[in-house]
């Protein structure tokens, strides 16, 4: 969840019907897409990416986040990552890979009934940490794990 999007939703709510349409899910994601944090996804260092995507750069290490990834990934193009957050009121889960050309991989914004769990597959250019950042109550919590990559997933 990023600041731009928040203000976007606020401003559209002020505009009236459109805000209602968005929250009711009547407007296609295309209309909401302006909120895709381009700068954060194009940032080449971890701090800028985290700030751009989540609004703040200060992270606290937390043992309440379980990050599951292979110790050695034979193929960097497909690295399965599972993040489980036991932090109450988890608002979003982000996955960042500092050694990739652009570290920010994905941000998952969770609904109020959604469990703090996401699983996906990512590309890794070389051996790197994988950082999972959880946002809860305006604070950021993170945990990381090193994944060894024998064949990179970028460039080919």
């Amino acid at each position: 969840m990023n600041n731009k999007r928040r203000s976007f939703i606020k401003s559209s709510a002020a505009a009236g019907a459109f805000g209602v349409a968005v929250s009711a899910g009547l407007v296609t994601p295309r209309a909401v897409m302006a909120a895709w944090p381009k700068a954060a996804f194009e940032a080449t260092d971890l701090d800028t990416a985290v700030k751009g995507a989540l609004g703040d750069g200060a992270m606290t290490d937390s043992s309440d986040i379980a990050l599951k990834a292979p110790e050695i990934a034979e193929n960097g193009a497909v690295v399965p990552i599972t993040v489980t957050s036991n932090i109450p009121n988890t608002e979003s889960i982000s996955i960042l890979i500092p050694e990739n050309p652009t570290p920010l991989t994905a941000t998952f914004n969770l609904g109020s009934n959604t469990a703090g769990f996401v699983s996906t597959r990512v590309k890794m250019s070389k051996t790197s940490d994988v950082v999972a950042v959880v946002k809860s109550g305006g604070k950021l919590y993170s945990t990381k794990l090193t994944v060894k990559v024998t064949i990179g997933g970028c460039g080919g």
């Binding site: 994601p29 193009a77 920010l104 998952f108 969770l110 609904g111 009934n113 996401v118 590309k123 970028c154």
Partner: protein, 104 residues
């Protein structure tokens, strides 16, 4: 693009487990065409939206580092068997697709 999403949602002990597979090239824009030396233009999914009963259960912003033919799994509460789950994606070229699936 038709039927690019395969989604399965199943209720177990009150919790719905959603698993989805999307067919998409997820081109990073960094891979080079060996014959011409030019880079393949970036083509990747930017936004995923998943709704149940009109409420967002998951929205995601993706970058280029999500693997080709993305897999996504998550869990949420409050759904029952027979409900409809809607999932859609939009990529950086403005292409999109959506699907509705019955929760089992």
């Amino acid at each position: 693009m038709a039927k690019s999403i395969k989604v399965r949602a199943k209720v177990k002990n009150g919790e719905t487990v959603v698993k989805a597979l999307i067919s998409h090239p997820m081109e990073t824009g960094q891979r080079k065409n060996k014959k011409t030396g030019k880079k393949f233009p970036a083509h990747f999914i930017q936004e995923i939206t998943c709704t149940h009963n009109g409420a967002d259960v998951l929205t995601a912003d993706w970058g280029t580092a999500i693997s080709k033919n993305p897999y996504l799994s998550f869990k949420f509460n409050g759904a029952k068997s027979g409900d409809t789950l809607k999932m859609s994606w939009v990529d950086n070229k403005g292409e999109s697709d959506s699907i509705e699936a019955k929760i089992k």
